[in-house]
């Protein structure tokens, strides 16, 4: 059982490590990481704010032990969207290319196939998170000096704990978005449809619904995952966001697993 899951994992990595996918994804992660951390520090004195939706993050806030991870935690949502697209495309293409039938002939245990795929994508999400952490913290450190932000507490014991906590939260959030992408891929069996629906929901539908009735943000899945990445907000607690995200992702996985294991592979 473990051996066959490990074989699925290594077979998946042969696909995930191809330069266009791996380097392309890391390039996108690096671009957004540099952009978000640069805007945070370069617009520190802007009256329009330097954070998400015009929020002002002051020098004093950036000088706290959590200052190093301020940019990193704000990028969680974007990492999530990237993970959703990659996971959805990788899963749905098995149907659209017809390659799922080859995989199932070589590994007829459908749950093993799904678990192995999930394991490889977890590692992919971890790499994305680590790359983003290194870049955002690095860029923040370089820019902090020029903007008179004190970094003395960033790498103290408290600062290192903040980094570890944020790394875990951003990873969980990215993984949650990715799993939703994977589930959409299984449900819709088309890369374009699953990516479109996922991105449309997270970037447009949730924002419109949230703008019309802000209390719904406490229940919408994308909002919960984004809240997990930042470790909780004033309106949504971390525990609430984490448990609700876990519930959404768990339900989605159960439905997708039931479909994947029972549905005929007819293309």
């Amino acid at each position: 059982m473990i051996g066959s899951i490990a074989r699925v994992y290594f077979a998946e990595w042969r696909k995930l490590r191809r330069p266009t996918l791996l380097l392309g994804t890391i390039g996108a992660v690096a671009f957004f990481s540099v952009l978000i951390s640069s805007l945070l520090f370069l617009m520190i004195d802007s009256p329009n704010g330097n954070g998400d939706r015009g929020v002002r993050i002051t020098r004093e806030m950036l000088s706290l032990s959590s200052g190093a991870t301020q940019a990193f935690s704000s990028i969680g949502n974007l990492l999530g969207i990237i993970a959703l697209c990659v996971f959805a495309a990788q899963t749905a293409q098995e149907y659209s290319l017809g390659t799922l039938r080859n995989l199932l002939v070589r590994q007829p245990g459908r749950i093993r196939l799904l678990v192995g795929k999930l394991a490889s994508m977890k590692v992919f999400a971890l790499i994305m998170t680590l790359v983003s952490a290194v870049i955002t913290i690095g860029v923040s450190y370089v820019l902090a000096g020029g903007k008179d932000v004190d970094t003395a507490l960033w790498f103290s014991a408290d600062g290192r704990l903040e980094i570890a906590k944020t790394l875990l939260n951003v990873f969980l959030s990215t993984l949650g978005f990715g799993i939703i992408g994977m589930v959409l891929g299984i449900l819709l069996r088309s890369p374009i449809s699953s990516i479109s629906l996922g991105v449309l929901w997270l970037l447009i539908v949730e924002n419109i619904v949230g703008a019309v009735k802000s209390s719904t943000l406490e229940w919408l899945p994308g909002s919960q995952l984004a809240t997990v990445a930042v470790g909780g907000t004033e309106t949504i607690s971390y525990t609430h966001a984490l448990s609700l995200s876990g519930l959404y992702v768990g339900i989605a996985l159960v439905i997708a697993t039931a479909l994947f294991t029972r549905r005929d592979v007819a293309n």
């Binding site: 077979a11 039938r101 199932l104 070589r106």
Partner: protein, 302 residues
């Protein structure tokens, strides 16, 4: 009875649109090449998918290499398959695509180079799959099917897109594999090819088996026939009428009359036609062949 590679009993698959495969029964002995034929939509691919555990039967049962098809994990490690043409990742090379499947199945990675050599893709193994011609894709699909060094090889239209030389190579490869003990179950529309290489035949029509058994038994049950053309095409119907009056089944296909009867009767037919004022421009006695038999049995006349 010989040991069986495939045995299906009353195997059925029903969709909302109707029965795709209906109470199918056939057996394929180990170590033989078995052709699997039928018109488009006859249920060949659906049957193959059920044998490989990709879709669930709605009725009946089946065994592959002695194991029930409801437990494909017990036999698929000894089965190679190419279903409905090759399907691979376009952005990976041919070799990488095979390595994905070798890793997944737990087969030695070194086998990939051997197989690429065997199917004539050694020089293009590092090229991306999306740059391959149809024939090269087909060869890669066959290489993938051979990865497990299979006891049973199931191929759906393996010669699609291949040139005559490629078709001959595949024919020789299948013959060699069968000689080494591999059972080959192959569907193809190239009936003349199947006739050359197959010892057994399963013929489907509208989801039902119309023949399953040794190829020779099929031919033994068929009548010899003759092909007849007339100087004036409108006289063909008269020739048919003459033949049927004499008790010989006949029909017209592609502007040629197909008349059942032994070669010795050709002279009699020629005389009867001459007496009726009809000039025959072709009168060729034929032995039963797979193509003729196929059209006869499936009723799929052009």
């Amino acid at each position: 009875m010989a040991e069986l590679a495939i045995a299906v009993t009353d195997l059925s698959k029903k969709y909302d649109s109707g029965l795709a495969v209906s109470h199918t029964n056939f057996q394929v002995p180990l170590g033989t090449i078995c052709g699997f034929v039928g018109p488009n939509g006859a249920g060949k691919t659906t049957t193959i998918r059920m044998l490989l555990g990709l879709i669930s039967p709605t009725g009946g049962s089946g065994e592959i290499l002695g194991q029930s098809i409801s437990h494909p994990d017990k036999y698929l490690s000894q089965v190679g398959a190419m279903i409905e043409g090759p399907a691979f990742y376009p952005a990976l090379s041919g070799a990488e695509n095979l390595k994905v499947l070798a890793t997944l199945g737990g087969f030695p990675i070194e086998r990939v180079d051997q197989l690429l050599e065997q199917v004539g893709l050694a020089e293009r193994g590092k090229s991306k799959y999306k740059t391959y011609s149809l024939g090269m894709k087909q060869r890669l699909g066959i290489a993938a099917a051979l990865l497990p060094n299979p006891k049973l090889l199931i191929l759906d239209e393996p010669t699609n897109g291949l040139d005559p030389e490629g078709i001959q190579e595949i024919r020789q490869l299948l013959r060699k594999l069968a000689d080494e003990g591999t059972t080959v179950f192959v569907s193809s529309h190239l009936l003349s090819e199947l006739e050359i290489i197959s010892e057994y035949l399963v013929m489907l029509r509208k989801g039902e088996v119309v023949f399953a058994g040794a190829m020779q038994d099929l031919f033994d049950a068929q009548q010899p026939f003759m092909l007849v053309k007339t100087e004036d095409a409108s006289d063909l119907a008269k020739v048919i009428s003459i033949a049927e009056s004499a008790g010989h089944k006949s029909h017209i296909r592609d502007g040629v009359a197909h008349i059942e009867g032994p070669a010795e009767w050709a002279g009699v037919l020629n005389k009867l036609a001459f007496d009726a004022g009809i000039l025959l421009t072709q009168l060729s006695p034929q032995l039963p062949n797979l193509e003729e038999t196929f059209f006869e049995m499936t009723g799929d006349q052009k």
